[in-house]
Amino acid sequence: MSTLTLVDVGVKYSRRAASALTGHSDTVVSGEWLGLIGPNGAGKSSLLKAIVGLVGHTGEILMDGVALSSMSDRERAGRVAYVSQDPLIPDDMTAREYALLGRTPYIGYFGSPSRRDRMIVDDVLERLRLGEFAHRMMGKLSGGERQRIVLARALAQQAPILLLDEPTSALDIGYQQQALELVAELRQTQQLTVISALHDLTLAGTYTDRLTMLHHGAVVVSGSAEDVLTAERLGEIYHVCVTVEHDEGQVIVVPRRGFPA
């Protein structure tokens, strides 16, 4: 129901700057979880921002055959939800009010949230086991709790495509796992298509269906974790010394001491 097709997508921030992303083509099928990996500045965020319309792009981004660029801001917001790397969270807003912002695309220009909007938000908070935080101020919550509320906002948006830019980079290992488990569960129950940029390669390989590795704005390789995450390739792209181990189908990237060859 929500296949995303990228045709020769490029992103350039200014005329003189180098391209942040060049000629990227891909098809993300409905219900797939695609992980974007690559060193800082590889173009992961640029790709996500292009899809959600925050930066202009060349080429075509189609959702079920319809160009996202031809949609109004509101139409697009009903189809693509986005969680930024570093969301600006007002301290003096309750968790429920914040999550309710996810309903913005469905509220008329001069309208206000309906009873149904509030029910959807309360339902999402309940499902994410955040009900107890609903009336707490965002500024009073821990980093992990805030992260989950941000996710709740994105889910309240009820868009079939969910874009996550480093959703777990600010969290400790326990919260990282919780957040990713949550996304995995929601993807199942809500039939979401998920594209996420991820720093932690082991987690990226464990949770996603497919990995695309970007470098200098271009695709290095795309495929299963086993194919993408090899010690030689990581050494070459990240300038890092790692070994890659395989354990019951899971690919584990282990940093080692020393400099890459």
């Binding site: 801001d73 509101r74 917001a77 009903g78 939800a81 301290d91 309208g111």
Partner: protein
């Protein structure tokens, strides 16, 4: 105080505050009846009630023809500056912003200076009072320059560029005003008095002059309060939530600017209200714009009406500039709130 769901109670409290301020505002003054007789007379004028209050017709004329327009104009100016200030703060996500930010005050000041320099004699035959008219036109023109320059340099995405463009345009405009003043020292006194702001010459004509602008501007701003709440998560995320950020910001800025320019042109530059009343409202009632905007309107109206009362009494029969009074009362009260409650950015 009343919890998250009780907007109506807050709005009722705001209404009571305005009503209280109006009654105080028309009851106290250097001439006219004893202050306590005015509320009695108001009750007396309600239908089906009739008793002797000792207020003569001449006394009532002072209340109705001198004090009432002043009170109404004070309410309009205070309410407008506060709701415009709250909107500017929201749209630029900057707590230090006031409604004069993009140049409406500096422009109005320049316009008034030019009008006063041309001279009362030369313009006495004009069908309209040139000072508010020219002040209004210059206020709008200055903000337009700021917006055009800011949008051209920063792209319409950037609120910060707009604020900085405002700083530059305001200094340029002020420099022009200073230059004109320095070559026409004889009007300095009059210009200075205008700049300090005053409601003392208010008549019903001024009220009718600003009401349409204030009404339209206020309604437009109130209709956008949900958008201001979305702006709180930042331009980028607001955009991903389906808000057309640049266009919505432009609409809000235009509405706030029109109202501000109109009230500045009749009352002069009354500082402090537009900056601080919204913060007081946030501290007392919470930071959601759904509540902050209507309460700023009411709080600002009541605040300025009350602030105008000592202005006419302290040095009577002379007038103390209202801008001085607002800062004198407002600043300590603001500091008190700052101490007792945490400030919301």
């Amino acid at each position: 105080m009343f919890g998250e769901q009780h907007d109506t109670r807050w709005f009722a409290a705001g209404g009571v505050f305005v009503l209280f301020a109006v009654v105080i505002g028309i009851s106290i003054g250097p001439a006219g009846p004893d202050w306590w007789r005015v509320p009695l007379e108001l009750v007396n004028r309600l239908p089906l009630i009739d008793f002797e209050t000792g207020v003569s017709d001449a006394d009532w004329a002072i209340v109705w023809k001198v004090r009432m327009p002043r009170v109404v104009l004070g309410g309009l100016v205070g309410g407008m500056l506060s709701i415009a200030g709250a909107s500017y703060q929201g749209v630029f996500r900057n707590p230090l912003v006031d409604p004069y930010l993009l140049g409406s005050a500096a422009g109005a000041g320049l316009g008034a200076t030019i009008a006063l320099t041309i001279g009362r004699d030369a313009t006495s035959t004009w069908p309209i009072d040139p000072v508010p008219t020219i002040a209004f036109i210059f206020a709008l023109a200055t903000v337009m320059v700021t917006y055009t320059v800011g949008a051209a340099f920063g792209g319409s995405r950037s609120g910060v560029t707009l604020v900085l463009a405002g700083v530059a345009v305001v200094s340029f405009t002020s420099a022009m005003q200073t230059f004109i003043l320095q070559r026409n020292v004889e009007v300095i006194r009059e210009v200075f008095r205008w700049i300090l702001g005053s409601l003392s010459r208010a008549d019903w004509g001024d009220v009718w002059l600003v009401i349409p602008y204030v009404a339209v501007s206020t309604v437009v701003l109130l209709l956008h309060r949900r958008h201001l709440d979305v702006f709180r998560v930042g331009d980028e995320e607001a955009a991903t939530l389906g808000v057309s950020v640049a266009r919505t910001r432009l609409v809000i800025v235009i509405a706030a600017t029109f109202g501000t320019a109109a009230v500045v042109s009749v009352s002069g530059l009354i500082g402090f209200v537009g900056l601080v009343v919204p913060h007081i409202v946030r501290m007392v009632a919470g930071a959601g714009y759904r509540r902050v905007l209507p309460l700023s309107l009411m709080g600002g109206a009541g605040f300025l009406i009350l602030a105008d009362v000592p202005g006419r009494m302290i040095a009577r029969p002379a007038e103390t500039p209202i801008g001085v009074v607002t800062a004198f009362i407002g600043a300590p009260f603001f500091l008190y709130l700052l101490r007792t409650r945490r400030i919301g950015a």
